[in-house]
């Protein structure tokens, strides 16, 4: 797999769309290209952010935050 092919596969990888038989070859290429591969993969994860930001924010109930913060503060207490 050359780096261009790796780039193509990386975009599929980050959204979980690689098939099992493709994953093995992808992981080999990832190891082969080393830091260059990791840097590119990091950029591909920007797709996640973009897809989330493409959605209209949804409202959630205030009670959710109250419960969350109560749980967090309870865990923090000794």
């Amino acid at each position: 797999m050359n780096f261009k092919e790796f780039q193509n596969q990386s975009r599929l990888y980050v959204i979980g769309a690689l098939e099992a038989e493709e994953l093995e070859e992808f992981e080999k290429a990832r190891k082969k290209f080393g830091k260059k591969a990791e840097d590119y993969l990091g950029k591909c994860y920007g797709l996640h952010e973009a897809f989330a930001l493409s959605l209209r924010p949804a409202k959630s109930s205030a009670a959710i935050k109250d419960r969350l913060m109560a749980m967090v503060r309870a865990r923090k207490e000794p």
Binding site: R11, G46, L47, A52, S54, L55, A58, L68
Partner: protein, 225 residues
């Protein structure tokens, strides 16, 4: 679109909210825009790593709407989405120590975590069949959720969202659908092929072409992706 052009285009619009000063270096930054002096996402993550509950509270206020929208897009159930949202922010609190700014931005990390939990939740709670039915109904009414959202006139889109959606809506519907099923439903290429009655090779091509166009489009907008 070049960086300077993007800045000038956003400045033409009157805005009620104050733009974050850091936007000079990152014109295509994340929403919502921060008030001057407000801590950055990274600063909040570092404070959460130091177990500061107020930082989590601020991060929640900033991103609960985006993460809830993502969860809803996956599981299509308001009550389950609220429960998951709470669980996800609890996981953000518990797993904050695993976040590394060298691997990406806080929002990207949170979205990745939320998506995984939402897809897990979809499968574990056996809501799949119900969501499938709802999604089917929605799909029959509107072929694509991204397109559906973009036609809601009453919604004033943020600059960021409208720019991203412009990139996505520029794709052929079949590519949008393939990406939608993969990202928001967690489907494999084979599952997409079966669901859409499309050859596996065609699904792969649609995903590859669509993702490349989105990636390149965002790169052009951001100048940094």
């Amino acid at each position: 679109m070049g960086r300077s052009k993007l800045i000038s285009s956003t400045r033409r619009k009157p805005r009620k909210r104050v733009r974050v000063t850091k936007s000079r270096t990152r014109p295509f930054s994340v929403v919502p825009q921060l008030e001057p002096g407000a801590p950055s996402d990274l600063e909040l993550m570092k404070a959460i790593q130091a177990e500061d509950p107020d930082a989590l509270s601020q991060l929640y206020d900033r991103y609960n709407g985006i993460l809830k929208a993502l969860i809803l897009r996956v599981i299509h159930n308001e009550a389950e989405a609220d429960d998951l949202l709470q669980e996800i922010f609890m996981e953000i609190w518990n797993q904050a120590k695993n976040f590394s700014s060298q691997k990406g931005k806080p929002l990207g990390w949170m979205v990745t975590l939320a998506r995984r939990r939402a897809i897990d939740g979809l499968r574990k709670k056996q809501a799949y069949a119900r969501a499938e039915e709802r999604l089917q109904n929605e799909t029959e009414q509107q072929p694509d959720a991204w397109v559906h959202n973009s036609t809601e006139e009453e919604i004033v889109l943020s600059d960021t969202r409208s720019l991203i959606r412009k990139v996505i809506s520029g794709l052929p519907p079949a590519q949008q659908q393939a990406i939608d099923l993969a990202f928001f439903r967690g489907m494999s290429q084979r599952e997409i092929a079966a669901k859409t009655n499309t050859p596996l090779g065609t699904v792969k091509t649609r995903l590859e072409l669509g993702l490349k166009k989105i990636y390149d489009g965002l790169k052009e907008l951001k100048g940094e992706l």
